[in-house]
Amino acid sequence: METFLFFVFAVFAVAGSLGMLISRSPVASALWMVQTMLAIACLYLTLNATFIGVVQVLVYAGAIMVLFLFVIMLLNLEQTPRLSAFTWQRAAAFVGGVAVLALLLTAVAEQTDVFPSPTAVAVVEASDEVAVVGPEGEVAVIEEDEAAVVPLDPTSVEQIGVALLTRHAFTLEIVGALLLAATIGAVLLAKKRFT
């Protein structure tokens, strides 16, 4: 079932990004991009990363894409430029992009036996015993005193919140300062007149 969902959402994500790449109107590009963002959010959910999935929908598909659409409509471009014909620059760009794909896929394929399965550790808590479901669906039941050894579910919002406010608290403060600086900078830049 998870495999089926992965391929469904993967097709949606790739189709959305290809539509973003080839559509002539910037509004259509942005709307295709929303589809890609939502598909990636669903992929996060298939990975049991619920917090990141929700943040993806809120921040990317919500805030950032609305900002893009707002700017596109503010600029009010009348003519949608025609996708121009073959040039050597475009051919070189295409070859370069395909070379990047080949490089990345080679890197993935060479390491394929090293990686564990992303859903290897799913802790199912029973009343007084803990069952660990392995990647092939095998179930190992652990008595309660052993249950402390089981790694905590890394996907929970609680784990992320604890890590964010303890080990990464300083980084969180820096990001807050960055967002404030970006807000002020965006306002100043939008008012500035370049000569």
Binding site: A13, M33, I52, V100, P116, A120, P154, A182
Partner: protein, 99 residues
């Protein structure tokens, strides 16, 4: 579900983002392609985070999203400022740093 599939999908999405930056001349579509590349890397980070049972990957994704939001705000402000002066968003016609 194999981690390799997630990494391969991420590679494909990243490549489409690279192609968008290289092929398109509309600066807003170039921006969207950069966001797509960030998303592809985020997918890799979440997949690794789940695979190794380590929450730090998702923390990193959280920070990447924050930086992406800041980048989009500043970048789109620059696009607006340039469009008001040059009346174009074609990257071939924008040569602000060329004097």
């Amino acid at each position: 579900m194999d981690l390799t599939w997630y990494l391969s999908l991420s590679a494909v999405l990243f490549t489409i983002g690279v192609l968008g930056v290289l092929l398109r001349r509309n600066v807003i579509v170039v921006f969207l392609s950069i966001e797509l590349m960030l998303n592809a890397v985020n997918l890799t980070l979440v997949a690794f985070s789940q695979a190794f049972g380590d929450v730090d990957g998702q923390i990193l994704v959280f920070f990447v999203m924050s930086v992406a939001a800041a980048e989009a705000a500043v970048g789109l402000a620059i696009v607006i400022a340039m469009f008001r002066n040059k009346l174009t968003i074609n990257v071939d016609e924008l040569r602000l740093f060329r004097g």
